[in-house]
């Protein structure tokens, strides 16, 4: 009995390894390389740095995974994050408490997420066009509201929260870990999660099962907006200010991390662990190159190389 279980466990590990996206191997290679050659790369403070730096991107990449699994896309996340950050900071400046300010940021995110969801499911717009439109709206909104200025003077409560740590682990990492946990449960242990797989994998099956597909589908985008709003907490805490353009382009990084992590635009294929690997790979690469003090132009090129190499590994393994 126990022997069989062990064997089965081993088989499952092997199966997991064979399913692991190519980026897993690249990440391992990067870690080994930087640990050998990067001064103090493998020190605890530096590893924490990687965690801190990856946490905001992870908050966007988690819902992006679900959106992509559902054969969609959300280009508006970075802009919505920027706008939510402005709202959060402005609320703090106006003297509201942190919970109220966070609530406002979440509300902004939710409004945009729901708008995306409705545009995609009800109006029937292609996700790319719909979210490119809302990207413009959110970014324009943030710029118009601030005139392009930073929103400063947010008081000590948020910076203090951001700077806090527990068991030696900084706040933002705890947030990222908690978000991952929540998404893991959501995707793998709830009805909502099964619907995400089904919307991408076999939408008709879901409809025939009597599930209101549109509602769940829109909810996935709403969740994306909500998380963008929530990420404003970390971004604003990190900058001690709200800035309208601070998160521009982050959605592309999130999409790249998700795809590199093995999730595909077709048939509900993908998963969250791969996304974490994708986010970490980019984080480790940038951090390691900084620690090695590699020239910035080379860093820029390496990001492109990493993305393409990770996909190549997948493509080659897919063929054999």
């Amino acid at each position: 009995m126990s022997r069989a279980a062990v064997l089965e466990g081993g088989a499952r590990w092997r199966a997991a390894a064979s399913r692991a996206p190519g980026v897993a191997y690249l990440l391992a290679a990067l870690l080994v390389f930087f640990a050998l050659f990067g001064p103090r790369f493998a020190s605890a403070p530096n590893l924490l740095n990687i965690g801190i730096q990856s946490s905001i991107l992870l908050l966007l990449a988690l819902p992006m995974t679900l959106i992509i699994m559902a054969e969609g896309l959300d280009l508006s996340m970075g802009a919505v994050l920027g706008l939510a950050g402005i709202v959060l900071a402005s609320a703090l400046v106006a003297g509201y408490g942190l919970p109220a300010a966070l609530g406002a940021a979440l509300a902004v995110g939710l409004v945009f997420g729901v708008a995306n969801g409705l545009l995609v499911t009800r109006v029937g717009l292609p996700p790319f066009a719909a979210t490119l439109g809302t990207l413009g709206a959110a970014q324009g909104g943030a710029l118009v509201a601030t005139g392009g200025q930073s929103v400063v003077g947010i008081g000590p409560s948020l910076p203090a929260l951001y700077a806090s740590s527990w068991l030696g682990i900084p706040f933002s990492i705890w947030v990222a870990v908690a978000a991952y946990g929540a998404f893991h449960v959501l995707l793998y242990h709830t009805r909502f999660g099964a619907c995400v797989f089904a919307i991408g994998g076999n939408r008709d099956a879901l409809a025939l099962a009597g599930v209101r597909v549109h509602a769940y589908h829109a909810a996935i985008y709403a969740l994306g907006g909500l998380m963008a709003g929530f990420a404003a907490l970390l971004l604003t805490g990190r900058m001690n200010a709200g800035h309208p353009t601070a998160a521009i382009g982050m959605e592309f990084d999130a999409i790249a991390a998700v795809i590199v992590g093995g999730t595909r635009f077709e048939r509900g294929y993908g998963g969250l662990p791969g996304t974490v690997l994708g986010v970490l790979a980019v984080g480790v690469l940038k951090n390691g190159l900084n620690v090695l003090a590699v020239p910035s132009s080379l860093q820029v090129a390496s990001i492109g190389l990493l993305l393409i190499a990770a996909l190549l590994v997948d493509s080659i393994r897919g063929r054999s």
Binding site: A79, L119, V123, G124, L125, P126, F128, A129, A130, L132, G133, T134, L135, G136, A137, A138, Q139, G140, G141, L143, V144, G147, G148, F252, I255, A256, I259, V260, R264, F265, P295, S296, S297, L298, Q299, V300, A301, S302, I303, G304, L305, L306, L307, I308, L311, L312, S315, G318
Partner: protein, 319 residues
């Protein structure tokens, strides 16, 4: 139009878009005296032509249900290479050839990644974007190359017979592109691939060589645009293509090309570029805060997408 000309159904709602252009023109003519002057209209045409040049290759890529995010970076690198060669050799022709070649090489690499290596176009070209920027940052090392012979600069900022030179380039590429997409079997193959890649493959269309062609064309148009922008700006720097990517995508989408593939035209993209330019031109003439620009652009993209979603079904059912 006769019946046969109607059946490659590629863009059903161009009428509405032209209506939009007319409405924009009318509104601007009423709102400002400066709009309805010949210099301003030529000015609008010049700006729209430049946007069209970048967006034209992208249109074909999107018709095949692909994407090319590297065009902005590609444009920048081509301009920088061309600039460096012109400065070093004094030969405008050589410089232009090198710029175009650089664009084509990047296009070919995109094509190889998408067809032979089977990478998803979104991320493959996004990765290419980073690599191209890396090369360009390294090559330019934070400098600007500027000051070119007047003859070369006319390519971007000059007029011929009172019409801006880029407008001729636009007209030429629209003519050639239009003939290519409409009157050659390659063009028809591209639409077939975009509409259903597997069916096209099983119909004997050589998918890989057609896609290679399209990505190469996209790279070549980015390279060409790089040269024209160089001539227009009289200078090149590494980041110059960055702000041009999203407007190019927006122009393609506003022009009615579908990201699902198989639907779209170059003339639509030109109308899209025109709508974008008119809007921005109008906002400038009315001295509206530029911070409003992203919002207005977003709304136009949404309107165009909504227009297609609501009219396409009816137009198709009528056929």
């Amino acid at each position: 139009m006769t019946a046969p000309a109607a059946w490659p159904l590629r863009m059903p709602s161009i009428g509405y878009r032209l209506l939009g252009v007319a409405a924009l023109c009318l509104a601007l003519a009423l709102a400002t005296d400066a709009f309805l002057t010949l210099p301003n209209l030529l000015n609008v045409m010049r700006q729209a032509s430049l946007t069209f040049l970048i967006a034209s290759g992208l249109t074909l890529v999107i018709v095949t249900a692909g994407l090319d995010l590297s065009i902005g970076a590609n444009l920048g690198l081509s301009a920088c290479f061309a600039a460096a060669v012109i400065q070093a050799s004094g030969s405008v022709l050589l410089g232009a050839a090198v710029g175009l070649a650089s664009g084509i090489v990047i296009g070919v690499m995109n094509g190889v990644m998408v067809t032979w290596l089977g990478l998803p176009p979104f991320i493959a070209t996004f990765g290419m974007l980073w690599m191209v920027y890396g090369v360009n940052y390294w090559y330019m090392a934070g400098t600007t190359i500027y000051d070119f012979p007047q003859g070369f600069r006319n390519l971007g900022s000059g007029d011929a017979l009172g019409v801006p030179v880029p407008v001729y380039l636009m007209a030429a590429s629209m003519l050639v592109g239009g003939l290519f997409t409409r009157y050659t079997t390659w063009g028809h193959d591209i639409y077939a691939i975009g509409a259903n890649r597997e069916a096209a493959r099983l119909s004997g269309i050589p998918i890989r060589s057609r896609l290679m062609l399209v990505y190469t064309l996209s790279g070549a148009m980015a390279g060409l645009s790089g040269i024209v922008y160089l001539a227009r700006l009289n200078s090149a720097e590494a980041g110059m293509g960055d702000p041009l990517l999203l407007p190019a995508i927006a122009a393609v989408l506003i022009g009615g090309t579908s990201l699902f593939g198989g639907i779209g035209t170059l003339s639509g993209t030109f109308v899209g570029a025109l709508i974008l330019t008119l809007t921005l031109n109008g906002m400038n003439l009315l001295t509206i805060d530029t911070n409003w620009q992203p919002l207005v652009m977003g709304v136009i993209v949404l309107l165009a997408a909504w227009l297609d979603a609501s009219t396409r079904r009816r137009a198709e059912a009528r056929a």
